[in-house]
């Protein structure tokens, strides 16, 4: 809609890359239709699984490249969970590691030209964030019973302020899945749209296209960092939310 204006006879649509299409032609989308999104999501799951399985199969003392990368991811997430949640949180470490590797694989695979960024779809990130939200709430209620409500009732604040804070805490608790999912989706979508906009400049400029191409290289380098940081942020926020379920009220 916004890109009706053709610039220099070369029209590029920054949002076109996020359109979900069926893989084998046709236009109807059912829940079972294989689309470009399911394809790249499958590749991301396969890549994450293969990295960890192949990497830890031989367990050599002098690690190969694959093994050391798998070990770095494992120990990185393990230390993150242990630092924030303590030993009680290590029970949920596999879940956090799964989330981290999947989001990281999906983010990085989205940087490959002509690929599809799975995590730029709200359907994916909202599913991940809602799963985190529900599991945190359910684990918190099962483990602590009514003491879970201490998350909203802050003991360290003055008594008169506590009801006000409780309202704010309840609102922020239920906004969590929204911000958790929109952050990942927005970052991925914004970065890729920026690259496409610069690509549109390159098409319109002719000989001077070298400058937008240089800019694209810069943005792409930034996107590699963003892909990692967003996976890290997604995982560490999950850990922090999980902390509420494990130690309610203990900040």
């Amino acid at each position: 809609m916004a890109s009706d204006v053709a610039e220099g006879g070369f029209n590029i649509q920054p949002m076109e890359q996020f359109v979900i299409k069926p893989l084998f032609g046709g236009h109807e989308l059912n829940w079972y239709t294989p689309t470009n999104m399911t394809l790249w999501m499958g590749i991301a799951i396969l890549a994450a699984t293969l990295l960890l399985i192949v990497g830890t199969r031989r367990r050599a003392i002098v690690p190969t490249r694959t093994q050391s990368i798998a070990e770095v991811f494992y120990s990185f997430v393990y230390r993150m969970v242990e630092d924030i949640n303590g030993t009680a949180g290590l029970k949920y470490f596999p879940y956090i590691l799964t989330l981290f590797t999947f989001v990281l694989a999906a983010n990085s695979l989205g940087l490959v030209p002509y690929s599809f960024t799975t995590t730029s779809q709200a359907a994916i990130t909202v599913t991940l964030a809602l799963t985190v939200f529900l599991s945190v709430t359910i684990i918190g209620i099962i483990k602590n019973g009514p003491r879970f409500l201490k998350v909203f009732w802050i003991d360290s604040a003055p008594l008169a302020l506590r009801p006000v804070l409780a309202v704010i805490e309840i609102i922020s608790y239920f906004v969590r899945p929204v911000s958790h999912s929109i952050r990942l989706m927005g970052n991925m979508m914004a970065g890729h749209a920026v690259i496409k906009v610069f690509a549109g400049f390159a098409g319109a400029l002719g000989v001077f296209a070298v400058f937008p191409v240089l800019a694209i290289m810069g943005v792409l380098a930034l996107e590699v960092i963003v892909a990692f940081i967003q996976a890290y942020v997604f995982a560490i926020l999950t850990v922090i939310y999980m902390n509420d379920a494990l130690h309610p009220g203990g900040h």
Partner: protein, 80 residues
């Protein structure tokens, strides 16, 4: 009918542009977080490593606000 459609579209596009000013707020917020982290880290470098995670969480929260305004802009442009 065509005129009203154009007016609505114009309003939506202007609104999308206005919504993007919210990203400036996120930029200020992120700059504040990282700047304060750096000034603290240069005073006491030995404590810096332990606070990197906190810095990234702060960045993530500040950034979320900018992402929200970006989302509003997208909704105005594409989801009328």
């Amino acid at each position: 009918m065509a005129v009203t459609g154009d007016l609505v579209q114009m309003g939506a596009l202007i609104g999308a542009g206005l919504a993007c000013t919210g990203m400036g707020g996120a930029a200020i917020g992120i700059g504040h977080v990282v700047g304060n982290y750096l000034s603290g880290a240069l005073r006491n470098p030995s404590a810096a490593a332990g606070q990197t995670a906190t810095m990234f969480i702060g960045i993530a929260f500040a950034e979320a606000m900018g992402i929200f305004s970006f989302l509003i802009a997208l909704l105005l442009m594409y989801a009328q």
